[in-house]
């Protein structure tokens, strides 16, 4: 296990594998399938101040090498997550959880982060300023460096746990936004959220998802995600959590060579509920194959 250990913002992970927000619920669904304590951590379903139903259905469209979702941050709201979901997660997961927090205003981010910061199960707060599926919400906030910095400052003022800012790839210059977050006091950066995309149904001649557009994720986005992680790693001193299409242990190694301290596995969990488990189990052999003794040695190794 020492070979796969990494340290993320001062917290040691047994391995760098973290199922990504929105693909792992609050953990307990997957605990019916396998012991999720083998994970490094998991990032729980994006949580907002109020309960949200999300967008109309259909919310899912298949793509050649991935999928589009327009779920729209369906979640029970921060208070019920704390009172109902976290106690359920505690029964099946004894490590630190990454809390993924959404919002529609600085005030909402602050209120949500202040509440979740008090929970002992939470190791990191991952602030999602990048959901592509909520109009006038996270997207606008996460595409402007000044606004991103303002959220970071406000959240840092009310929290004690490490704050990781999750960025959208749907911007011209992701490096400037990452730097703005670092300058404002962020403890880490995670990227990428989904790429805005769409599919059209040839029979109906209409968009497949009811919301017309949604977030594209899966193996098709991996090269884009890798490139952005590489660029952001060059520009900031704080740790980077890499995600976007990771499906195999080799993808994990590649993402870490680009600069990721840890990785999140997203869409892969949806096509194969055992994907994260399989990646963790495959890591030692993949490390041997590429002559890697310790994973922590290779972070940013491609630079």
């Amino acid at each position: 296990m020492d070979r796969t250990q990494v340290s993320l913002c001062g917290i040691t992970l047994d391995n760098p594998i973290i199922p990504a927000s929105g693909t792992f619920g609050y953990g307990y669904e997957f605990a019916e399938l396998y012991d999720i304590n083998i994970l490094g951590s998991f990032s729980f379903k994006g949580t907002t101040g109020e309960a949200r139903f999300g967008n109309p259905t259909p919310r899912i469209a298949e793509c050649q090498a991935g999928m589009i979702n327009s779920v729209g941050l369906q979640n029970p709201g921060i208070d019920r997550v704390i009172s109902e979901e976290l106690p359920k997660a505690r029964k099946c997961f004894n490590k630190s959880i990454m809390a993924n927090i959404g919002g529609f205003s600085i005030e909402e981010y602050v209120s949500n982060c202040e509440k979740i910061d008090k929970e002992d199960q939470i190791g990191w707060i991952e602030v999602n300023i990048s959901c592509p599926n909520v109009h006038g919400g996270g997207m606008a906030l996460g595409t402007d460096p000044e606004m991103a910095a303002a959220i970071v400052k406000a959240v840092k003022a009310v929290t004690t746990k490490p704050v990781i800012i999750k960025l959208t790839p749907n911007v011209t210059d992701i490096v400037s936004i990452a730097k703005a977050c670092e300058d404002a006091g962020a403890d880490g950066i995670s990227l990428i959220n989904t790429l805005l995309g769409m599919r059209i149904d040839l029979k109906a001649k209409k968009p497949v998802v009811a919301n017309k557009m949604g977030g594209y994720s899966g193996p098709g986005v991996f090269p884009v995600a890798l490139r952005m992680v590489y660029q952001v790693y060059d520009a900031v001193q704080i740790p980077v959590v890499g995600m976007g299409g990771i499906t195999t242990a080799e993808d994990v190694i590649e993402m870490m060579l680009a600069g990721a301290t840890a990785v999140e596995v997203g869409a892969a969990n949806l096509t194969d509920p055992f994907a994260s488990k399989k990646i963790i189990e495959a890591l030692p052999a993949a490390m041997d194959k590429y002559g890697i003794n310790k994973l922590s040695d290779i972070i940013g190794g491609a630079h």
Partner: protein
Amino acid sequence: MKDTRLTIISNKKIALNTFEMKLRGDLSDVKGPGQFVNFALEGKYLRRPISICDVNGDELTVIYKAVGQGTEQMSEMQPGQGMDTLVALGNGYDTAKSGERPVLIGGGAGIPPMYFLARTLISEGKDVSVILGFNTKEEIFYVNEFEALGCRVTVATADGSVGVKGFVTDALKPGYTYFYTCGPEPMLRAVYARTETSGQFSFEERMGCGFGACMGCSCRTVTGYKRICKDGPVLEKEEILWTERR
């Protein structure tokens, strides 16, 4: 739910665009009628959720319509080929509520789960009527199979080419104690409006994962938000909110 590999025993066309596939493998997680399986297809990113038509020991029967790239690909698969499959998903029908004379109402691709359900209800000693709705004669399948179980079967075709001319609701007669239904949403709405007892509806929705993780197939109900794949696909009549389902 189990992630397992099933081997195709047979795969044949039984009606217009309609195929019956039998597979063999570990089906020990199937709880009862109304659940579904999720097939991984070569070259397709998302799995294909297909309702369970019947389970006998380690033999699974599914009936599917070849209506898109995935199901067309399935229709070309040969005996001996394997498919990675999640078995079994969803809540399924609750047969304890049926009363003595349940009616089963299936339309088109919604008919297959009615078979396992009818067989189960009959084994529980119930007097089962079945109404099967099709558009036209060429689409008809499984009438003999339902009759062989010992159900009273009524066929309705929209064009009147066989049986009652019209929809399943035109063939519905009073006297049933409870109903179970599966079919296209306009049919489900009509069944909801015409039936006078309680009953259970099985819904279809475009799914991401099929096991409750992605929130892709959520709907609103009287009892809160539900995931068609995990909390459904079967919903009770009393909990359905048609106008706000989407």
